[in-house]
Symmetry: C3
Subunit: 155 residues, 3 copies
Amino acid sequence: MVDLTQIMDDEVFMAFASYATIILSKMMLMSATTAFYRMTRKVFANPEDCVTFGKGENAKKYLRTDDRVERVRRAHLNDLENIVPFLGIGLLYSLSGPDLSTAVLHFRLFVGARIYHTISYLTPLPQPNRALSFFIGYGVTLSMAYRLLKNKLYL
Amino acid sequence: MVDLTQIMDDEVFMAFASYATIILSKMMLMSATTAFYRMTRKVFANPEDCVTFGKGENAKKYLRTDDRVERVRRAHLNDLENIVPFLGIGLLYSLSGPDLSTAVLHFRLFVGARIYHTISYLTPLPQPNRALSFFIGYGVTLSMAYRLLKNKLYL
Amino acid sequence: MVDLTQIMDDEVFMAFASYATIILSKMMLMSATTAFYRMTRKVFANPEDCVTFGKGENAKKYLRTDDRVERVRRAHLNDLENIVPFLGIGLLYSLSGPDLSTAVLHFRLFVGARIYHTISYLTPLPQPNRALSFFIGYGVTLSMAYRLLKNKLYL
């Protein structure tokens, strides 16, 4: 029987696990940020969410959109769209026996770029801050996909 | 050579596989629910989807939004935002050699909380039903992330 | 110690890795397509994105929605909603020791159906092209979930 606890002795896999957990935790912060702005700005999407602020027609005025909330939600969706490919491709790449320092460089660049992307989006910083951080993360994932398919293509 | 079929002999991993498959199948039901409401309420997002209900200007009136459809779509997106971190962190946590009963407790709480979240969202139940079920799922994922990083951090 | 590079010697797992990487790369193309339409049609969601096209009130007119951009975004979100379950369930299914030819048939059908779904959505082709390709991908994922739970349920 395979002792699964030994899988985590593989340094590349352990590095992937650490960076993946960090960037997923960061993504989860976006939910909390959305909730924070919805509460403090009283901006809700569901009638049942604003009953504590008033009854009937009085509550309905809180069913609205807000620039700040929509900005956080766009940043969250962009995270989802980019972190899902990183997780899938990064996991398979980690199992394909890459060089440790190359792999760690990929993971660090991705995580750093995505954290900077969030800062750029929420501040907001002027372009091309956000665009550049997006393309660095995008390029890192494509680079892992290329290395994976070059070594291990099986169709 | 590693016999991969033996990985599934690991009880924690098998439990993770079962609960992950169940919650992903539940998430897929949201697509079917959206499709069901779109058809029965004749609410579409694309012109090519409503040609069977009329030609030209007559068909365009079905290009609209509907509270019920939007509610299902918000529940679906909230699922995506929370199930993706659970999948990534949960997979890595399962491979990090956790105690079986602790791990299964995490998985059961998460799956139960997310199913209750969907029920709260679609009924809709009054708050704080939905908020509580959201935070239980959120807390479970963060707890797995914490245990994973505490044991196996490699940066 | 487990030599992780040997995991990739498992043919089912290698096939899953290849198809998963291909379909994730395809999904990433949707981000580039959205960016392309936003630039060429001058349709933006954030004020900081359109400062190169004008100052002040002049720039605000580019903060708008566009049918073409919204269509790509709907296709992208539909990809996310369907590729995430495929990744999670497909990974676990690949590790559960399925027959190689059955597994490869599942992966090929899913990837083919999702590529055709994107073509149907963006062209757009008349229905039921898009609906059929959606349901083929949906059915493939459910079939893997069923086989996984039938063999390896552990609750």
